[in-house]
Amino acid sequence: MITRLFGFKGGVKPESHKNESSGTPIQKAPMPKRLVIPLRQSIRSTARCLVQPGQKVLKGEHIGEGEGGLGTSVHASTSGTVVEIAPYPMAHASGLETLSVVIEPDGEDRWIDHTPLDLPTVSREEALAWLRGCGIVGMGGAGFPTHVKVGGGRGIETLVINGAECEPWITCDDRLMRERAPEVLSGAMILRELIGAKQVLVGVEDNKPEAIAAMQAAASTLGDGIAVVPVPTLYPAGGEKQLIRVLTGVEIPQGKLGTDFGVQCFNVGTAHAVHRAICFGEPLVSRVVTLTGNVARPGNYEVLLGTQVAELLELAGPKADTDRYIMGGPMMGTELQSLSVPVTKGTNCVISASPALFPPPPPELPCIRCGACARACPAELQPFELYWFSRAKNFGKAQEYHLFDCIECGCCAFVCPSRIPLVDYYRFAKGEIWARERERQASDQARERFEFRNFRQEREKEEKAAKLAAKAAETRAKIADTGEPAPAPTEAEDPKKALIAAALARAKQQQAAVTPRNTEDLSADVQAEIADIDARRDKLNQQDADKAP
C-alpha cells in the first residue's frame, strides 16, 4: 500500500540502549501499598473529586469527573479505601503539587461492573463520551484527551499509529507491540472507525524487528487498509509531525491539527487502551512502564496508575551509584524532584541515572553559530537564533523566528559543541511569552474596569447632582409654600457635605440590597467566584446572626 517513505530534515542518532529492557516480557507489578491518583491527568484540566476520605471504592470506579472540554474522567486503579484527598507532588518539571486521591488497596483488586460498548449500535457522540468516561488520554506523552482528538474534524484520510518509540532506553511500546499486537491493532481499527479514516499506517522504527514482525503478522489478518511500516531509526521519528511526514509526506505546521490535513496520529498504547475501553469497558487504570538505566533488573512492568515511583523502583533495583531519576526518555524526560510522584497515564519510562551513564555536561560556552543545531533540528528552525533572542529576552524576535514551532525535542542541545542547554532557553522564553499574554489580558481587563468605574462614578455624580437640584427646588418650593425657613440650606450648597449626606441616605436606603453596583459585566469565571464568596458570606452572616442572640 505504501510506496515510499518521506524523510524529515534534521534528527540525531543517540545510542539506543533498548536491549537492556526489551528482552524480557511485560511483568505485572505487585500491588503497591498505596496509590496516589492525581486528579489532574490530562493537560490543562483538573478533574472534580467525586469521593470523600473514608469511602470504599472499587477498581475502575469513577473518582474524578472531567471538567471543561479538555477534561477526562479519573478512576480508582484498584479496590480499596480512600484515605486522603490532598495535594501531592506530580511528575512535572515544576515539582509542584496537585490534588490527589490516596487509596489504600484492599488487595482484592475487585473490578466495578463493566460492559463493552457495542460500537455499531451507538452514535459517534456516545462513543466519544464513552472514551471520555473511560479516561482515555494520549499515552505517547502529551496526555491530550483522546476523545477530543477523535472528535475533531472529519474527512480524514490516514490514521497513523505511532509505534516509533524513538527515544533511547524506552521499550514499553516495543514490548506492547510484541506481546499484544492484535489488541493494539484492534484499538487502531476502532479509532479508524471513529475518525472515518481510509487507511491505517503503523510506523515502527526499524530497530524493533520483533515488534514489526508481530504487528505485521497481526495486521495480515485484518485485510487491506492497514500497513505496518518500518521507518528509519532517527530521533525524533516518533514525534507526531515527523512520523506523519515520514509516512505520508504531509507537513503539519505549528498551530494546525493533523485533522486539517486529513491525518491523525495515536500512540500504540493509546490504541491498546481504546481497545480495552471499547471491547471490555475497562477504564484506563494501568499502563506499561519501562524501568531501566542503572538498575539490576531492567524490564517492562504493567503498573497501576497511582503507583509511586519509589515503590515501583524496588522492582528493578537501582544500583548504588544512582544519583537521580528521569521520568520519560533522556531526550525529553524530566528529572524527578521527588520519588513520591505517582505513575500517570503518560508515564512510559523511569530511568535510573548514574554519572557514568548520564555524565553531567561540561560548563556551557558561548554559541559559536556553528549551525550544528540547525542541521539537527527536525522543525528546521535556526535554534541558535532562538537561543540568542531568548537569552536576550527579545521575545518578539524569538517568535518571529518561529519559537513556537519548536517541539522541544532536544536535538539541538544534543549536538551543540558549546553544550548550551538550548531547550531550557526555549522553555523559558515560551513561559515568559505565555505569562506576558496572561498579563496583557489582565491589564486589558483592568483598563476596562477602571474606565467603567470612572464612567460609573461620573454617572453617579451626575445623578446625585440632579437629585440634589430637584430636592433643592422642592425645598424652595416648600419654603415658598409655608414660609418656613429652610431646614439646612448650607447642606445643599456645600457639595461635599451634600455628597456625604446623599451617600448616607443611599446607604440607609439600600442596606438590604446587597448587590453592589461594581459587579456589572463580568466573565463567567469571576461570576462563579463571586457567587462562591457570596455563599461564604451568607454563611458567616448566618453565624453572626446565630451568635448575636
Binding site: S94, L96, D424, F428, S443, R447, Q511, P516, T519, R537
Partner: protein, 183 residues
C-alpha cells in the same frame, strides 16, 4: 548689500507666509501616541508613577513631562517597551518611585473587617465586593495588586499576599549562565 537683503527678504516672505498659513491650516489633531503608551502600561492604576493612574502618566510621557522609568508595576520590561516605542535609551527603574515586587493580590481578613466601604472606594478596578457594614472580600482575579486599598482600611485588615505558584502560572526559570556562575 541691498541685493542681499532683497533676495533674502523675498525668500523670507514666501517662506514665512507659507509656514504661518500652514501652521493654522494643518493643525495637528489628537495624539495617538498616548494610546500606544497607555497600552504598554500595566493598568494597575496605582499612582506610584506620581500620576493619578496609567492614562495620565501616559499623557505626561507623551508631553515629555515624565520620564519612562517611573512605573514600578510595569517593571524593567515595561520600561524597555517604552524605550523602544519612543526610541529612547533604556534606563533602570527610578528608585524614588519604588521597586519591582512580585505580583500580589490583596486579601481582606474577613474576621476583622468592619464593612466601612473605604476600600471599595479606593479600589480603581472594582475588585472588592461588599456593602456598608458587611464584611468585604477581594475578587482575586480582578485585583491588580495596586495596594491602594491597604492604607485606607481603618482596622488594617487588608494584607497583600503574593500570588501562589500553580501549574497554570508556573514558568521555567532563566537558565543559569555557567560562565558567570563559575566565577
Amino acid at each position: 548689500m541691498l541685493t542681499a537683503i532683497l533676495i533674502m527678504t523675498g525668500i523670507a516672505i514666501v517662506l514665512g507666509a507659507a509656514l504661518g498659513y500652514a501652521s493654522i491650516r494643518f493643525k495637528v489633531e489628537g495624539d495617538p501616541l498616548v494610546e500606544k503608551i497607555d497600552a504598554i502600561l500595566p493598568q494597575t492604576q496605582c499612582g506610584q508613577c506620581g500620576y493619578p493612574g496609567c492614562k495620565p502618566y501616559a499623557q505626561a510621557i507623551s508631553n515629555g513631562e515624565a520620564d519612562i522609568n517611573q512605573c514600578p508595576p510595569g517593571g524593567e520590561e515595561g520600561i524597555r517597551k517604552l524605550a523602544d516605542l519612543l526610541g529612547r535609551e533604556f534606563k533602570p527603574l527610578s528608585e524614588e518611585h519604588g521597586t519591582e515586587k512580585p505580583k500580589s493580590v490583596a486579601r481582606i481578613d474577613e474576621q476583622v473587617c468592619i464593612g466601612c466601604t473605604l476600600c471599595i472606594q479606593a479600589c480603581p478596578v472594582d475588585a472588592i465586593l461588599g456593602a456598608a457594614k458587611q464584611m468585604h472580600t477581594v475578587v482575586a482575579p480582578l485585583c491588580t495588586g495596586c495596594e491602594l486599598c491597604v492604607a485606607p482600611c481603618p482596622v488594617d485588615c487588608i494584607s497583600m499576599v503574593p500570588v501562589a505558584e500553580t501549574v497554570e502560572n508556573w514558568k521555567w526559570k532563566y537558565p543559569v549562565h555557567e560562565l558567570r556562575s563559575v566565577a
